[in-house]
Amino acid sequence: MTPTLTISRLTKRFQSLEALKDVSLALEPGKRAALLGHNGAGKSTIMKIVLGLIPFESGEVRVCGARPGSSEARAKVAYLPENVAFHPALTGEEQLRHYLSLRGERPSRAMELLARVGLLHAARRRIGTYSKGMRQRVGLAQTLIGHPRLLVLDEPTSGLDPVSRRDFYELLDGLAADGTAILLSSHVLTEVEARTDRILILSGGELVAEGTLADLRTRAALPIVLLVRPAAGHAAALATAFPLGIQGKDGVLRIACDQSDKLPLLAGVAALGHQVADLDVIPPSLEDIYSHFSRRDGQ
C-alpha cells in the first residue's frame, strides 16, 4: 500500500536552532501514529511542515503524493492545531458552516458535525463563551469535514476530560477503519498506549525510536518487576528464597529482572507452591520506555 504520508531525511532549522534532524517516517492509510516527545522536541514543527505552513531546509515530504501545502494536498488533509482558536464572535454552528463552505461541502451539515462531537447543545452560542474543552471539540468537528485522507492532530486531547478522551479515540477508530491515516501528538502517554498502531519518539528534533509499543518494550529491555505476596507466615522463607528481592513492610517482595530472566524466575516462584499467595508481573510502563529513549543530553 502506498503511504499517505512520507517524510524522508527532513531537516528544519530556526536560525541557529536545529529543530528537526534527518527525520524519516511513513504512514499508511488507516494507520494511527502517535508522536511523543518533550515540549520543544519538534512535534508541532513536523506537523506544520506536513501541512505546508512552514518551509524546511532539506529532505522530502509527500502528502497523498503531492507537495505539502499544495491545493491538492490541502483538499485531503485536515488539521487540529495545538491550542486551536476561533473568532469569539461567531457561534459554533456559524464557524463550522464557514469551514464546510471552504471545503466545498454543504453548510447545512454543521449541526450533524457538532452532534458528533457532543456540542449540539451549544451550537448557537458564541465561541467566546465556550470552555477550552468545547473549543477543542469545535476543532475536532472541523477535522471531520469531507473525507480527509490524513488527519494531523496536535495534542488533540488537551483540555478534554477522560470521558471525552475516550469518545475522541472512538471517533478516530472509526476514521482509521475508513482508511484515514492519523498522525497525532501527545505528551499524555497512557492514553496513546492502546489507541495507536505506532509510536514515534522524538527527542531534540531527532526520531529516536519508532515501532509498536511491544517493539519498543523489547528494544528498551527495561527490567520487569515481579510482585510476590507471601502466604501467611511465609514472608521470611520467601525473602530467603529470593535474596535479590526487596521486601516491603507488608511482606510483599519486589523482584526486578531482565526480560530474559522472567520465565525462569516465574518457574522459581511457582515451585514454592502454597508459600505464595499471589503474583503480579509489572511490565515497564510507557513512561519508563519513553524516558529510556528520550533521555536528554547528560541525563
Binding site: 506544520k48 501541512l51 512552514i54 486551536v84 461567531l90 471552504l102
Partner: protein
C-alpha cells in the same frame, strides 16, 4: 467564488456582531444629516439645485470619513487573525490567500456601501423635501456613492497591507492612523503650501494635476467636483479640478483599488507562521 462568498458572509457577521455595521452607518447618517441641514439654509441662489450643493459638501465629508472608516475596519483583518491564532488553521484549508483577502474586502465594501448609501440617502431626502427641484442632483449623488465605495476599496487595501506588515493589531492601528493623516490631511496641506508659494507658476500648472491624481483621496475629490455642476464654488485645490480631464480622475479612482489590493495580496503572501 463560493469560498470568497463564504469568507465574506463570515466577516460580515463578525463586523455586525462587533457593531461595525451600526457604527459606520450611524456615523455616516449623522454627519450627512448635519451637512444637509447646514446646506438647506438659504444660500445666495446661483441656479444650482439644493441636492448638488449638498453633494458638494458631502464630497468633502467623504474625503475624510471614508478613508478613516475603512482603515479602522481593515487594520485588524490579518493582524487580528495572527494574534488570535486563527490563521494557521485557515491556511490549511483549500482556499488561497487571495480568496481570503477578497472575501474580507467584499464584506467590508458591503458595510461601507450600506453606510454611505444610508448616510448620503438621508441627506438627499432632506434636500429633496425642502426643494423638489433637487431631484436633478440625483445623478451626482449616485456618482458620489459609487466613487466613495471605490475610494473605500483603496483604503481597505491599504489597511490590509498594514495589517499584514505589522502582524500585530496595535502596530497596525498606529500605521493606519499615520496613513490617514498623511494621505488625507498632510498631503493636501503640503500641496496648499506649495500652491501659495508658487503663485500660479510651473508647479500649479504642471505638477499639481499629477500630484492630485496620485493621491486617491484627491482624485476622488477632483472627480466628484469636476463631474458636479457646483464646481464653481470651490476654490484652492478644487479650482485645479477644472484643469484635470474627467477621464483622468476616473482612471485614478479605478486604478487605485486594484493597486492597493494587489499590494495587500503581496504583503499577505509574505506573512509566515
Amino acid at each position: 467564488m463560493n469560498r470568497i462568498l463564504a469568507t465574506a458572509i463570515s466577516e460580515f457577521r463578525i463586523a455586525f456582531r462587533n457593531r461595525w455595521v451600526s457604527i459606520a452607518t450611524g456615523m455616516m447618517v449623522l454627519f450627512a444629516l448635519v451637512l444637509a441641514a447646514a446646506g438647506s439654509a438659504p444660500t445666495g441662489d446661483v441656479g444650482v439645485d439644493r441636492l448638488s450643493v449638498t453633494v458638494a459638501s458631502l464630497t468633502s465629508l467623504a474625503v475624510y470619513l471614508v478613508p478613516l472608516l475603512t482603515l479602522l475596519m481593515s487594520f485588524d483583518a490579518l493582524a487580528g487573525e495572527v494574534e488570535r491564532g486563527t490563521l494557521p488553521l485557515l491556511l490549511t484549508y483549500p482556499v488561497s490567500r487571495l480568496q481570503i483577502l477578497l472575501g474580507k474586502l467584499l464584506a467590508h465594501l458591503a458595510i461601507l456601501a450600506l453606510a454611505v448609501g444610508f448616510g448620503f440617502g438621508a441627506a438627499a431626502l432632506v434636500a429633496v423635501r425642502s426643494d423638489p427641484d433637487a431631484i436633478a442632483g440625483l445623478a451626482s449623488l449616485w456618482r458620489l456613492i459609487w466613487s466613495s465605495v471605490l475610494l473605500g476599496a483603496t483604503f481597505l487595501g491599504a489597511g490590509y497591507t498594514l495589517s499584514a506588515l505589522a502582524r500585530r493589531p496595535s502596530g497596525a492601528a498606529g500605521l493606519a492612523v499615520a496613513v490617514w493623516l498623511v494621505a488625507v490631511v498632510l498631503y493636501d496641506l503640503a500641496l496648499l503650501a506649495l500652491i501659495v508659494s508658487d503663485a500660479g507658476g510651473a508647479f500649479t500648472t504642471q505638477v499639481l494635476p499629477i500630484a492630485l491624481l496620485a493621491n486617491p483621496a484627491d482624485a476622488f475629490r477632483v472627480f466628484n467636483l469636476s463631474a458636479a455642476s457646483a464646481v464653481a464654488a470651490a476654490g484652492g485645490i478644487g479650482g485645479a479640478a477644472n484643469s484635470i480631464p474627467l477621464w483622468q480622475s476616473a482612471a485614478s479612482l479605478l486604478l487605485w483599488p486594484l493597486a492597493s489590493v494587489a499590494l495587500a495580496t503581496a504583503a499577505f503572501q509574505k506573512v509566515t507562521l
